[in-house]
């Protein structure tokens, strides 16, 4: 058996984001580091190889990238990997998902094939997580997304635990298989200094484009997607300032409002606001061509809600023929009508009807089993899109959509854009806007020559605003036999989401003005009463008033709440840089000139005690 792990180098974000002199991104000089998610893939690959007890002949790592970037391969070698391959050639430059996957697939085959291929969840720079799925298609291998654990593996089969959209699956699969390791799934002990030094001495085999194929379908020229432009949005905060009684009322209002917003999405508010900003500079859509467009809708309530957002956008763009397609679990409906009824009951009649009214046709496909695999979804959706000659297909950027999308794109050999935050039709192309480099820039992507154009779209970006102008024809497609079924779901269960400080939507942050345990406890009690998570600045950690795990800032956590309330925070760069992604920042400080006020949306001048008391 051979196990291969695909790894990547990414720009060092620390260098990228923080040039305070010019304020600009320093991507060119950023230096590169091994993609953090790949360390999990390496660790899981190594553990799997060990558990296969002598049956693995070689445990190898492959990367594609410029010649200097080798630290990810060195990392693999320091973990005891046998061979390291680097694909490096100017002709690989500018590769998108499809051409990258193509090169990696060829390289894996050329160097001896593999029964198991491990990949990280996603790369920190591209942030798409689509290569693993497309790679599996090109290798003709099974795909196991978001794997948290290898339960069992032998020569012919593997059983894994996988967690997608808060559902945990146990999946059995034949080999060969590509395993996308969920970020953080395994913690690996870092290599010892000795192993690192030894790794530096091991050889790295270099493969050029010619070594892989004479066709040379690599790089930007052969990539279905193109970058049309890049925009860096600016986010400056100009505070509204309040003091006196007025301020207390205002404070109460803000807190109450935030308690009442029920945010369904786990998505970053910053992205939504950036996306909005980019959209404001939007030009109108041009005339959309006649070809049909389709939305793949997941067959549950949230799936339909997300679907309505995508349909609204397509209507707003002036798409002429709009389809929706969904796949429902098999075996529970005897007639076409009852299938439709079960679906309508599952998602709720109101949602079902609004969707139906806004499309020209809804196709309900029946899966062959009650537990629907992403493999089957991709198979059915690919055939559907081909048959109906769909020009554009949108999916929600859920774990499910992000898996099915690239599997389909790989099958149809077309381009796909991940995590789209805006869509419009301009100068003969569907323009797909997506964040890149952790949301620091927005790239406009087009897919000029390949069809369908495919994209996964972030939930909660587009508002639902539908006209009932569809014909609402329902078509039912019964279960079909699937050639070559590779994966099977053995069990599934829904798991609880636990929120951490980093995920908290509402945060109270205590700053250096809080110097006693009593003051601290008073604020914590306040936070509890109002269901706020709480964090602190460095000063409190240093003063032993809070554990490091609650520290916000450069040397602590970076957070993205909808609302952050800063109490007695002076506003050092160290603290504020941990809050860059917050949607609304409110600060209470008695010092009018405190630097914190340069960086917030709402400034309350006064004693924090007054504000807290006004609410109790």
């Amino acid at each position: 058996m051979r196990i291969v792990t695909c790894v990547k180098q990414v720009p060092d974000e620390r260098n990228m984001a923080t040039d305070p002199v010019t304020g600009s991104l320093m991507r060119d000089t950023a230096g590169s580091i091994p993609n953090p998610d790949d360390a999990c893939a390496l660790a899981m690959a190594r553990a799997t190889s060990e558990s296969l007890n002598g049956q693995v002949q070689s445990l190898d790592a492959i990367t594609m990238g410029p010649r200097q970037s080798r630290s990810s391969l060195r990392q693999a070698l320091s973990y005891g990997f046998d061979n390291a391959y680097q694909l490096t050639d100017s002709r690989f430059a500018g590769s998108d998902v499809l051409t990258t996957s193509h090169a990696l697939a060829l390289a894996i085959e050329k160097t001896g094939g593999a029964e198991l291929v491990f990949c990280g969840e996603k790369s920190a720079d591209g942030d798409t997580g689509q290569v693993p799925a497309e790679l599996s298609v090109l290798l003709g291998a099974a795909f196991l997304p978001f794997v948290t654990e290898i339960i069992d593996a032998d020569r012919d089969a593997i059983t894994v635990r996988s967690k997608m959209d808060d559902v945990e699956y146990v999946i059995e699969s034949s080999l060969p298989a590509v395993i996308q390791v969920k970020a953080g799934a395994v913690k690996s002990a870092p290599a010892s200094f000795r192993d690192r030094i030894e790794a530096l001495k091991k050889p790295i085999a270099v493969l050029s484009a010619e070594d892989l194929s004479s066709e040379m379908l690599f790089g930007y020229r052969h990539s279905p997607t193109r970058v049309r432009k890049m925009i860096a949005p600016v986010r400056t905060r100009v505070p509204s300032v309040y003091s006196g009684d007025d301020a207390l009322t205002q404070f109460r209002q803000i807190l109450e409002e935030s308690e009442n917003t029920d945010d369904l999405s786990a998505d970053s508010p910053r992205l939504r606001s950036y996306a909005r900003q980019v959209r404001e500079t939007d030009t109108c859509c041009d005339q959309v061509p006649d070809e049909p467009v389709a939305v793949y809708v997941e067959a549950h309530k949230k799936g339909f809600q997300n679907g309505l957002e995508l349909l609204s956008r397509l209507q707003a763009c002036g798409a002429k023929t709009i389809y929706a397609v969904t796949l429902v679990p098999g075996d529970h409906a005897s007639s076409d009508e009852s299938m439709e009824r079960v679906l309508s009951e599952t998602v709720g009649e109101e949602l079902y009807l609004s969707l139906l009214r806004s499309v020209d046709a809804l196709t309900i496909m029946e899966a062959s089993r009650a537990a629907v695999t992403t493999e089957e979804c991709a198979y059915r959706l690919s055939r559907y899109l081909e048959k109906r000659r769909v020009g554009l297909c949108l999916l929600s950027a859920t774990d499910h959509g992000r898996t099915v999308g690239p599997l389909v794109a790989g099958t149809l050999k077309t381009g796909i854009t991940a995590d789209v935050t805006d869509l419009r039709y301009v100068s003969d192309q569907w323009e797909q806007v997506r964040p890149a480099y952790g949301g620091q820039v927005f790239a406009t992507i087009v897919t000029p020559e390949h069809r369908p154009v495919m994209a996964t779209v972030r939930p909660r970006i587009f508002a639902v605003d539908l006209h009932d102008d569809g014909r609402g024809v329902v078509a039912v497609e019964r279960a079909q036999d699937m050639e070559n079924r590779r994966t099977k779901i053995l069990s599934m269960k829904t798991c609880e989401r636990e929120t951490t400080i980093e995920e908290a939507k509402r945060l109270l942050i205590l700053g250096g003005a809080i110097t006693t345990e009593e003051e601290r406890d008073r604020l914590i009690a306040f936070a509890k009463r109002h269901e706020l998570e709480w964090g602190v600045t460095r000063a409190l950690v240093q003063g032993y008033l809070a554990p490091h795990g609650r520290q916000i800032g450069v040397s602590g956590l970076s957070v993205a709440p909808n609302l952050a309330i800063l109490v007695g925070v002076s506003g050092s760069v160290q603290t504020m840089s941990g809050l860059r992604r917050a949607e609304k920042i409110v600060a209470i400080n008695r010092d009018e000139g405190a630097p914190v006020f340069d960086n917030v949306d709402i400034a309350f001048i006064g004693q924090w005690q007054d504000y807290i008391e006004s609410l109790s």
Partner: protein, 469 residues
């Protein structure tokens, strides 16, 4: 309440004798790397009985007099950024003297280019004051945001621009200090004197074990007109060290001269280099003609000795990120990483051997180490320093951490001393390095002990620092 506390309150006022646990805990430790790790696995600090905050020299004098009479141990506490436990409390009778309030700007002399301030002034604040008037201190330790002027003098510190501007002993012009019995002594500001041994040196590096420094006067410099900066790739550290030696031999003094090994470069500068190379960073500043002339000399020597240009950008990156470590420093321990820096110095003859041998021994002998790199950052005509950086994952246990820590330190100190180098280039001695002081100083060590007896006959001044108990 104890009698000592009452007496202290009578001197500085009740408000400034702080008994609150959180404050005593904060002032019980500094940034000693071992503790930054151990405190997350069960180590607990010994708290001083009180933290006093005198507002002037007179109060310091009275506090010392009191403690000296009663045999109460005293620790002067500056910015708390020391990394060798110099300000760490180990005796619960200790009274910590917090110098933060003695931070007045006393005089800026724009003719003679010197500035005088209270010892508790943060160097960051003093730099801002002189910058406003068109000057700079030229002394830039990485702990710029944390350290006080008095603390820097007390530890014989040096800064990132030291190759050009010199170290603290080159800046310090005069001072005021209070001896154990409360006597106040002053050393006047003069350009130089040949009137016996230089008494400033009794205070430079005295680490609170001889006296409390209350006022300092240091030099300042005009803000430079221009900077010349350039980075070069070299195959090995040995080659890089030789190039620095040749540059220093010409007599020029570029403000910054650095040489980083591959492990250290990989992340920040990997994009500019080939694998396994080392990187030289040069920075000259001052009058345009001079900076450029220095640049030309450096360029010529570097290229003639096999270095390859890597442009200016690595220096921009270095400049932007040069103090990031200070922000991150406390974070590692919480994540289970033991991080420390160990700086040694030696002559050109042996420095490359010291670097190579140390790295090799750490690599063979301490399996818990996951990172160990080195750079040269302060050069002289006769030698340079190596600043090693350590990252290790000891088992999460107080004693285990200590074992790993001592193993690495043992190697670093041993290699430096067996080659005739010094075990400490600029962090001082603290309570950590004392055990090797006799080896370091050899036959002259007796003088160190004599000095301690003369300055501190009752043994109250920061016991256990500088000289082993």
């Amino acid at each position: 309440m104890s009698e000592v506390i009452k007496a202290l309150e009578a001197i500085v006022g009740q408000e400034d004798v702080v008994l609150e646990t959180s404050v005593r805990a904060q002032k019980a430790v500094d940034l000693y790397a071992l503790r930054l790790y151990q405190k997350h696995v069960g180590w607990e600090a010994t708290l001083p009985q009180a933290v006093v905050r005198p507002k002037d020299t007179d109060e310091v004098s009275k506090v010392l007099q009191l403690c000296n009479e009663r045999g109460v141990p005293v620790i002067p506490y500056g910015g708390g950024s020391g990394v060798l436990a110099g300000a760490e409390t180990r005796d619960e009778r200790t009274v910590v003297i917090d110098l933060a309030r003695i931070n007045r700007l006393i005089n800026v002399d724009e003719i003679s280019l010197q500035v005088t301030c209270g010892a508790g002034m943060l160097i960051r604040d003093l730099e801002a004051i002189v910058q406003e008037r068109g000057f700079k201190l030229g002394h830039y330790p990485q702990s710029m945001d944390l350290a006080q002027m008095g603390g820097l003098v007390a530890t014989r510190s040096t800064g990132q621009f030291s190759t050009g501007y010199g170290a603290i002993e080159d800046f310090l012009v005069g001072l005021e200090a209070v001896l154990a019995d409360g006597t106040v002594v002053r050393i006047n500001n003069v350009p130089r004197r040949a009137t016996g041994p230089d008494l400033r040196h009794l205070f430079l590096g005295s680490e609170g074990a001889f006296a409390v420094i209350t006022e300092v006067t240091v030099k300042m410099f005009p803000i430079p007109e221009t900077t010349w900066k350039h980075a070069y790739r070299v195959k090995t550290m040995r080659q890089g060290l030789e190039i620095i030696r040749l540059v220093m031999k010409t007599g020029i003094k570029p403000a910054v001269v650095r040489l980083h090994d591959w492990l250290e470069c990989e992340k920040p500068y990997g994009a500019f280099m080939e694998e396994n190379e080392s990187l030289l960073l040069f920075w000259s500043e001052g009058r345009k003609e001079i900076a450029e002339a220095e640049g030309a000399i450096i360029d010529e020597i570097a290229k003639a000795n096999g270095a390859v240009s890597a442009g200016e950008k690595p220096l921009d990156l270095w400049y932007v990120h040069r103090n990031d470590a200070a922000d991150e420093y406390e974070k590692y321990g919480a994540n289970g990483i033991l991080v420390d820096t160990l700086e040694v110095a030696a002559d050109w003859n042996v420095i490359a051997d010291i670097y190579e041998k140390t790295v090799e021994r750490v690599y063979y002998e301490v399996p818990e180490v996951v990172f160990f790199s080195g750079h040269s950052s302060h050069s002289y005509i006769n030698g340079t320093n190596i600043y090693f950086q350590l990252g290790a994952f000891p088992p999460p246990d107080v004693d285990e951490a200590q074992r790993v820590y001592e193993a690495v330190w043992g190697i670093v100190v041993e290699v430096a001393l067996e080659h005739g180098g010094s075990m400490g280039h600029h962090h001082g001695v603290g309570k950590h390095r004392v055990r090797w002081m006799e080896k370091e100083h050899g036959s002259s060590y007796a003088l160190m002990e004599s000095l301690k007896r003369v300055f501190d006959p009752n043994g109250i001044m920061n016991p256990g620092s500088l000289i082993e108990l």
